[in-house]
């Protein structure tokens, strides 16, 4: 008998029919003899409907009241899912975040979980019940309702799994697992059976939107095996765990992530002195603009240049700020480029293999693709290229690192 935490997102519970389909999946796992805790999101569209009501009153509504409002979305789902389970003859019991007591800090709208009281849940599980918990929400020490921010239901599921020492945390979503790259771009992309937390984090931070980064970090920290699988199709999904793949020959690269949401900014001819990078990037960060890739170079004349990327939606604000900074520092020039894309290869195999970067650069060179920026981490190499070459680059890398389904069969 295993203790399993399942999580179903908004699309999976988007209609009453889908909630009944979820109930069948839960019932099947229960009837296999598992103990089950199910975390659910609001029905898709519901959270936006509620935010819409608030926006009719104020675009800047009080965050405490916003949490009181939007937390009703998941509360509706837990009740309906329990009813659907009871219809199937399964004894089910719902809990809101505050009924479980998912204790969080008081940062309304983006609260962090501090502690989960597993007392009531354990009792219900022991009594043979399926427990259904509202995702995305908690309660602070004063009893105020809090929410974890968008996508927080994944985090709820992982936190519940950690608190209950569950055997597995299964995240049901609209894809059937983690792929070597986006199948819409590369038709023979392959579903991975296994991936490590680190790889998943790198994939997620590079634009693979299957799981919230926070929930993967959380799962890694508490060693909760995570499985991504489809609400709509049968299949084993992808297991995300601590263990590296135990194949004799580890693949060099597990997957290819990409992102075309960023723009590049460069400031040239700034003094090559301590504190300059801080002056440039600190001002951008203070404006709450997230900076991704950062590269600094020093030219022959000992003047430096810094290039970094930000989300395209933040570009005009970042340009303005950078213009002011350039004046202060007596910089030579500032320029920006929207037509860029970021491509990363990710794999724990890189740790023990030299030459991966060279192989990547060679493949891009063979296709005549110029590399604008390079950054590397222990298990990831990222390049920024011209946006129009993105598909070409991803397909070339997918092929050269033998990631396609047919490659896998031949090994």
């Amino acid at each position: 008998m295993s203790l399993i935490v399942q999580k179903y997102g908004g699309t999976s519970v988007g209609t009453v029919e889908r909630i009944e389909a979820v109930a069948k999946k839960v019932a099947a796992s229960y009837q296999e003899g598992n103990q089950l805790v199910v975390a659910v999101s609001a029905m898709s569209g519901e959270t936006n409907r509620l935010i819409g009501l608030a926006n009719e009153i104020s675009s800047d509504a009080n965050l405490r009241e916003m949490d009181v409002l939007v937390s009703t979305g998941e509360q509706v789902t837990i009740a309906l899912l329990c009813m659907a389970l009871q219809k199937l003859g399964i004894d089910a019991l719902s809990y809101t975040g505050s009924q479980v007591r998912i204790l969080t800090d008081n940062a309304h709208g983006k609260a962090r979980i501090r502690e989960i009281d597993n007392h009531r849940l354990q009792g219900a599980l022991k009594a043979g019940k399926v427990v259904v918990v509202a995702g995305f929400q908690g309660v602070d020490e004063e009893g105020n309702i809090t929410t974890l921010g968008r996508g927080g239901s994944d985090t709820t599921a992982v936190a519940l799994a950690a608190a209950l020492k569950a055997d597995e945390c299964q995240i049901y979503t609209d894809v059937d697992g983690v792929y070597t790259t986006d199948p819409r771009l590369v038709s023979d992309a392959r579903r991975l059976d296994k991936i490590t937390f680190e790889e998943m984090l790198e994939m997620a931070s590079q634009g693979s939107k299957i799981l919230q980064i926070r929930s993967v970090e959380f799962a890694g920290k508490y060693s909760v095996p995570l499985r991504v699988l489809s609400s709509f199709e049968e299949g084993p999904g992808t297991l995300i765990s601590l263990e590296e793949d135990d194949q004799m020959e580890k693949p060099l690269v597990s997957g290819i992530a990409f992102n075309r949401d960023e723009a590049k900014l460069t400031i040239r001819g700034i003094p090559d002195q301590p504190g300059v990078a801080y002056k440039v990037l600190g001002a951008i960060s203070e404006a709450n603009i997230e900076i991704d890739v950062i590269v600094q170079n020093v030219a022959k004349d000992n003047s430096a240049s810094i290039t970094f990327t930000v989300n395209k939606t933040d570009l005009s604000q970042a340009e303005e700020l950078l213009g002011e900074i350039a004046k202060d520092l007596g910089a030579l020039e500032v320029d920006s480029d929207k037509r860029i894309a970021k491509v990363s290869i990710v794999g724990v195999g890189m740790r023990s293999h030299a030459g991966v970067a060279a192989k990547m650069f060679e493949a891009l060179s063979d296709e005549g693709i110029n590399i604008q920026l390079i950054t590397t981490s222990e298990i990831k190499i990222t390049v920024v290229i011209e946006e129009r070459y993105l598909e070409l680059a991803v397909r070339a890398l997918h092929s050269v690192f033998e990631l396609s389904a047919s490659d896998s069969e031949s090994t």
Copy 2:
């Protein structure tokens, strides 16, 4: 400085615009220097929408989960009303039933309030805040969400007023007060400035649907002055209190209530023996059919007959049961009549005045209306007549007891 509890029903908070209008009313009272606790219902239509979702799954959903589901309705309203108040610069704070701690029994869907913890509310009021509480809901000793049943928001408001020893409990609704009778029937019906709890109870139980009977009983028990007034118009409304009208000459009759939702059943030729009434009516009650007027007569031959009224929707079931009972008792016959109406005159003045009944019967006789049944209480006389004479009867009684607006001015 007075402490006032206000209650706004579903129609009053039916849209965001109306919620903003409610916020203005609350703000006006707050700015007059009052301390305010506001109980609200779900936006009109919302509770039915939620019940509709549950019915898609099961017509017989688990009551605990039903309460989890429908209690979200009021939770949405409290958040939106607080946002609207904050927009007007009023410091407002929302509480769900379980956050206040409105402790109830565990009869889901029709829970009764046991105790209200006024600790948190008092603290918020002392800090100068307007407190907004979700009506209709509470929490049982185990932390399960409960609801008080439809219309329970009135009860919440009265219970809050009792717990906080409020100076007045103001029920905002879509009518501007309690009338001598239904103005749709009698065009010169008059709004009453004052009415006693007892009179209001008799009016309510006889079909005047402005207030839930339970909330009036509750208010009477705890001596909470209740005021019924309009969400949409200005005006003093009607004050319901312990004190009888202090005019020198009390009116004999305060109002006329009526009801056309009932049907009449008669069983004739039953033995005039102890226990027979119980045999007849006990079986009906056990089937959860509510019995209203009951009249028993004994005929010359010492056989008895019993006549009683039930809601029209229960008629066919009651007829069937009565048929079986008739067989058991060897009764002569059973018959029923749907085309009846009930008319009551209500007034504390009756206590000290003889001749009120005679005056009533005379007025009906003058109009050629036959009286089928009569029952009386200390402050009420009820007759059952043919349904087609209902309007005529109400107008005649309204006139003979001088209840119209012009009568009032002339005295």
